[in-house]
């Protein structure tokens, strides 16, 4: 039977990751121009640890999504809009995977291994290489701006569904709000 709303697990993962990714974005934006200080080293480490966590969460989320089919889009949506929504979601997932990967590779190329919570070393896939490090930094930032733009579009679309189309697209991602 097709459920009309997302599972509680999917809802928790969606909003938990939304909060985590917005925080990561804001922290990343704030920290990258800081002068070197113990605070900078600490906040960089926390950013990396949170990024590794986000990467693991997105894998869990993808696994959950494959095992639990999300509810269908409303039949009233034009086919082209439905296709657009699916492509948008696919790119969101791709970016949620690519961004932590680019951050991890950048860290390796800049000569700083990522050690999860200072305890679990994550292997360096790349040797230290300044040019590559700078390139990956640009990539990590660009992918983040792209994700930020898509998230704004994603949230805008959800609000449009709720206020203009008056369908259940937003409500089914909110456990307390039934339409």
């Amino acid at each position: 039977m097709q459920e009309s709303r997302y599972t509680l697990t999917a809802i928790a993962l969606h909003w938990g990751m939304a909060l985590l990714l917005i925080t990561l974005f804001a922290v990343g934006f704030y920290m990258h121009e800081l002068p070197l200080s113990p605070w900078k080293l600490q906040i960089y480490s926390w950013h990396k640890w949170a990024g590794v966590t986000a990467f693991m969460l997105v894998l869990i989320r993808l696994g959950w999504r494959i095992a639990h089919r999300p509810p269908e889009l409303p039949w009233s949506m034009p086919k082209m809009m439905q296709l657009g929504a699916h492509i948008g979601h696919a790119i969101l997932y791709l970016l949620m995977i690519a961004i932590p990967l680019s951050g991890w590779l950048m860290s390796s190329a800049k000569g700083f291994q990522t050690v999860y919570f200072g305890v679990l070393p994550i292997p360096d896939l790349l040797e230290k290489n300044k040019e590559l490090g700078d390139l990956l930094r640009t990539l990590h930032m660009s992918l983040n701006y792209l994700l930020a733009a898509l998230v704004v579009g994603h949230a805008g679309a959800a609000i449009k569904h709720h206020l203009i189309d008056k369908d259940d697209v937003l409500a089914r991602m909110l456990s307390w709000c039934a339409r």
Binding site: L36, S37, P38, Y44, S45, G111, F112, V115, G118, V119
Partner: protein, 187 residues
């Protein structure tokens, strides 16, 4: 300690008539390195010094007569990133304007086992002098020899990283120093 040094001196003197091995008197700078590893937020970071002068007089048969010293140009540091290099030149770290060089002068070298020795001496960084000891291996290959050694330096002993950096939670106190020298025999 003093007694041990005297014992080594006496031992060295007793061996003198038998010694045939070459005396090594110079270090080939382009085949030598002085590197270090420090831990930052639990992450090991590699660094090295590009400019240092080493004086080394060592005859494996007469370690008691051996002498080692070096002075290194602290501004020639590569601490892993450009911003770290700028930072460590500052007052909280090496204060290279006031203290451009770190120096080491040996007070004694004693044998530990075959091809293994320990050098003791006085290290001066940032106007502070401390006794240090470092084990090293000495592997002669004809007219050249490879010297490899390592020791742990505690940065707080030399006030390296003061102020906001004095907490070891971000940058650990223990710095692993590694030296690798190519020594040449006297011609």
């Amino acid at each position: 300690m003093k007694n041990r040094v005297i014992a080594v001196l006496l031992g060295g003197m007793a061996l003198t008539p038998l010694a045939q091995a070459a005396e090594f008197t110079s270090i080939q700078a382009d085949k030598s390195s002085l590197s270090f590893v420090y831990k930052q937020m639990g992450v090991p970071v590699d660094g090295h010094f590009k400019k240092f002068n080493t004086q080394f007089t060592f005859d494996p048969a007469k370690p008691a007569n051996a002498k080692a010293s070096f002075d290194l140009d602290l501004a020639s540091i590569d601490a892993g990133s450009e911003e770290a290099n700028d930072e460590v030149a500052g007052k909280d770290w090496f204060n290279t304007k006031a203290f451009p060089k770190a120096t080491f002068v040996s007070t004694g070298i004693k044998p530990l086992s075959t091809n293994r020795y320990e050098v003791s001496g006085k290290m001066t960084i940032k106007g502070r002098t401390q006794n240090i000891a470092a084990p090293f291996t000495f592997n002669p290959q004809g007219n050249a020899a490879i010297v490899d050694g390592a020791f742990v330096l505690k940065r707080a002993d030399f006030a390296i990283g003061e102020g906001s950096w004095s907490d070891f939670g971000t940058v650990a106190n223990e710095i692993q120093i590694k030296f690798h020298f190519l020594a040449n025999a006297a011609k």
